[in-house]
Symmetry: C2
């Protein structure tokens, strides 16, 4: 096994694609105080006025909407480095809640937009963040619209791997902090189906679990194939043709 990647241990891969630390958006967030969020505590609520953008410093957030009859749809997860809430003009479209202990920084949208007026780089970074959020939503739609239960569960593990490891090796260790119910509500499945599929993935030796929240993907490529994903997304430098 080549690379250990507990969610909090390394910056998100998607985020690394943007300038980090020295980038103005990150710089802006850096000036704001670190806010610790307990597991289960909300960062913002669906329907509230979307006055702040949030950056996840560590931990994982679940983003969800509740239907009036109580059903819950998890529209996505936010990992370390992810920025959420920039794309909302009026009110938040979902509730953001800490899965584990987490920490975030908040930034006033108005302040951000005003600063963006004078700063080209910042504008680009803001649109980059919006584009990231949009991209994740599209990914979710494709998964729910086209994929089988098995493909969905595999896709979720791969998503976690992409977000929390650099995918340098074909075998990666990932943290799976969310409960089976979280996974089910995100994948449009039931808890039981998620369990059965995970059991199957274990039987097929595609993944194994060391504790409930800690998994090893034995072959990212094989799992991606199983997920019906384009392998290009997961090609590792050493394996890429």
């Amino acid at each position: 096994m080549a690379y250990l990647a507990w969610p909090d241990a390394c910056p998100s891969v998607t985020y690394l694609k943007q300038p980090r630390g020295n980038g103005t958006l990150s710089g802006f967030f850096q000036t704001k105080p670190l806010e610790n969020i307990h597991a289960g505590q909300a960062v913002f609520w669906e329907g509230d006025e979307a006055s702040n953008a949030v950056q996840v410093v560590h931990g994982v957030l679940r983003l969800y909407r509740i239907l009036h009859d109580g059903r819950r749809a998890i529209v996505g997860f936010a990992f370390q480095g992810d920025v959420r809430g920039v794309a909302f003009h009026g009110s938040y479209l979902y509730t953001a809640e800490a899965v584990t202990e987490a920490a975030v920084r908040r930034l006033s949208c108005r302040h951000l937009h005003n600063s963006a007026a004078e700063d080209l780089i910042l504008r680009q970074e803001i649109f980059g963040a919006i584009s990231n959020e949009m991209s994740q939503a599209q990914e979710q739609i494709v998964m729910l619209g086209c994929k089988s239960a098995e493909e969905r569960v595999a896709s979720l593990f791969l998503m976690i791997a992409r977000k929390t490891t650099n995918l340098l090796a074909d075998t990666v260790e990932i943290g799976v902090p969310m409960t089976r119910l979280d996974m089910a509500d995100c994948l449009g499945l039931t808890i039981e189906t998620v369990c059965r599929v995970v059991a199957k993935l274990k039987r097929m030796n595609l993944v194994s679990f060391t504790g409930r929240n800690h998994a090893i993907i034995h072959s990212v490529r094989a799992l991606a194939h199983f997920a019906g994903d384009d392998l290009g997304l997961y090609a590792t430098p050493s394996l890429a043709s």
Copy 2:
């Protein structure tokens, strides 16, 4: 029946919530030439550099992604007045293709963003457009993640009604320009299931069809109830408590 609403006959309701005509974003688009798009012709392709934002002047676009094994996911439809492509930083996340004969105007994103630097109203309108697009994507995720086939089909008809009528009355006439395959690929179902559900809606007297692309929703409220939606979204002025 109170209000006729063929898709091209009146401006989109969502769009009316923003200043129209005199608003700077619309104003910008107005300066651009009208581009006629034949049915089936693409406006932009997934993966192409997202250099332009597009406003639908009339007609309907289907927005879709193709998986590498050929499956198609329609991530949404764009109706008259909708603006798409503002939220993309790098490349387009989906292909946009005319369902019917349509017309659009294009606007350079770079131009738009530069102008936005000096214009507060324009900035707000841009974020409004992004927020609209994001909102539709979230809606889609909730539908695919939580709802049954029957609820999904009903939701689609209601979505069309919301986009193409003012919902002043409980009975509305809507255009359904897309094929059953389009509907199926948007709802994560098969053609046959869509057909059966539509047949059931007809049997229940919730909708009726006058021609293949033309339906009457006999009671928006009843259909919304059937769709598992919050009735508040559809309350008509006369019916609202």
